[in-house]
Amino acid sequence: MKVELERSGGFAGRTLRWSLDTDTLPHEEAAAVADLAAQAAHWAGPPAPGNDRFAYRLRILGGTEPVEVSFGEPGPPAARPLMDRLRKGTPEGD
């Protein structure tokens, strides 16, 4: 399963992407990430109010079905553990 988090917008308008492939993780951690990712379809939400806010897009590929959801910062509380796990890695820019 591949999980990708994209953050765009903000004053600087930089787009950053963090990704994880569960195949490269130890079995236990891969299972934990997959458990979190299984909830992702419920995380869609509105953009954050105002201007210069960060916008997030989360994509899950290789699960039972592909999922893509968007939401404004800081994101739904349920999504935070998966977002934090992804953001531990080094992002790629555009």
Binding site: E6, F11, A12, T15, A48, G50, N51, D52, D94
Partner: protein, 346 residues
């Protein structure tokens, strides 16, 4: 297929009425995606209408500033640390925000006789030290918010006066043209904030268009980053080119317009086009940019015929028309020429 949600509409309505801006947005969005008729009727009654109501007394010529300390949390507004008329705190971010709000208030008052964000003396609220190494500054619909930056790429966002002017101008745009934050109207919204943000700085420094640097966020980049600022209105696309930060990707003309789904359709990217048009008009007209070019853009922003969904071309023709009304054919011609050079008017 009608979509319903687990939180009852009555609870959502209560949140939409009394919640924080974030909670209100979430509640209204949830109600809006619940397509049942009962919810549809209820939403119309609570949709927020513009900014806070005007005070009963006439607007004052002095600002009403309040600065809060977010203390590294993402909670607003945070702890009150400096109120109007009180002494400096010694905290650079607090004092920069306070001074920057004052400079922006003075700019709008003395350049365009505007009393604060809503022209009715709306108090100016700012939170600094928001979040942990937070790489951003934003307007949340009610107040300005500034992060400390990560320290590696970005320093604290209050360092640049034009960033403070940019955020406050989002409030002005929300009160006037209400430009939809998506695609071209969103890039116009962004450009208006860069235009008046940089004019706040030029006014504060008493600079002419020729002497100004036309940079946005020049003081934000951390030492060692390869770049001069976050954006350049004089030469969009040249502000930075750094192995970690990446490269400034702003286009200067319509030939480079970027089509993307990120960042609300590239609002911080395509703003380079109207930004450059303003720079070209201001330098062609010469002198202090806020007096003629700035006045034209300000009148266009306030023009009652300008719709929230206005595209670049409509905004451009509006500036040409108001230039003729407020000044003369020579000014209108310089403004038209600027928009032609960036490919918005043929």
């Amino acid at each position: 297929m009608p979509v319903s949600c687990v939180v009852p509409p009555t609870v959502l309505l209560e949140i939409a009425r009394r919640g924080t801006p974030d909670q209100r947005t979430w509640a209204l969005w949830t109600l809006a995606t619940d397509t049942s008729l009962r919810t549809f009727r209820a939403v119309a009654a609570v949709r927020p209408a513009g900014l806070v109501a005007a005070p009963l007394t006439g607007p004052s010529d002095t600002p009403k500033r309040t600065v809060y300390d977010g203390a590294g949390q993402e909670q607003l507004p945070g702890k009150l640390v400096r109120d109007e008329g009180t002494a400096t705190t010694g905290d650079e971010a607090v004092d920069e925000a306070y001074d920057g709000l004052g400079a922006t208030f003075d700019f709008y008052l003395h350049s365009y006789e505007r009393h604060s964000i809503d022209d009715q003396g709306l108090p100016l609220l700012a939170t600094v030290h928001y979040g942990d190494h937070y790489d951003n500054a934003f307007w949340n619909g009610s107040q300005m918010v500034f992060g400390d930056g990560d320290g590696e790429l970005f320093q604290r966002f209050t360092r640049s006066l034009d960033v403070i002017g940019h955020e406050l101008t989002h409030g002005v745009t929300e009160d006037e043209a209400r430009l939809t934050y998506l695609g071209q109207s969103g890039a116009l919204n962004e450009s208006i904030s860069d235009v008046f943000g940089t004019l706040v700085k030029q006014y504060h420094l008493g600079q002419t268009a020729e002497a100004a640097d036309w940079l946005i966020g020049a003081e934000l980049l951390a030492p060692g980053v390869h770049g001069v600022a976050l954006r350049s209105m004089k030469a969009p696309g040249t502000a930075y080119d750094d192995p970690v930060l990446g490269k400034d990707d702003q286009p200067a003309t319509m030939a480079g317009y970027v089509h993307t789904t990120a960042d609300n359709g590239g609002v911080h990217t395509n703003s380079g086009i109207p930004n450059h048009a303003f720079y070209l008009a201001a330098t062609a007209l010469g002198g202090k940019a806020w007096e003629v070019a700035g006045r034209v853009w300000y009148d266009a922003l306030r023009d009652s015929r300008l719709k929230p969904t206005a595209q670049f071309h409509t905004f451009a023709t509006t500036t040409v028309r108001v230039a003729k009304q407020a000044f003369d054919n020579d000014v209108a011609s310089a403004v038209r020429d600027a928009w032609q050079q960036v490919g918005v008017i043929r």
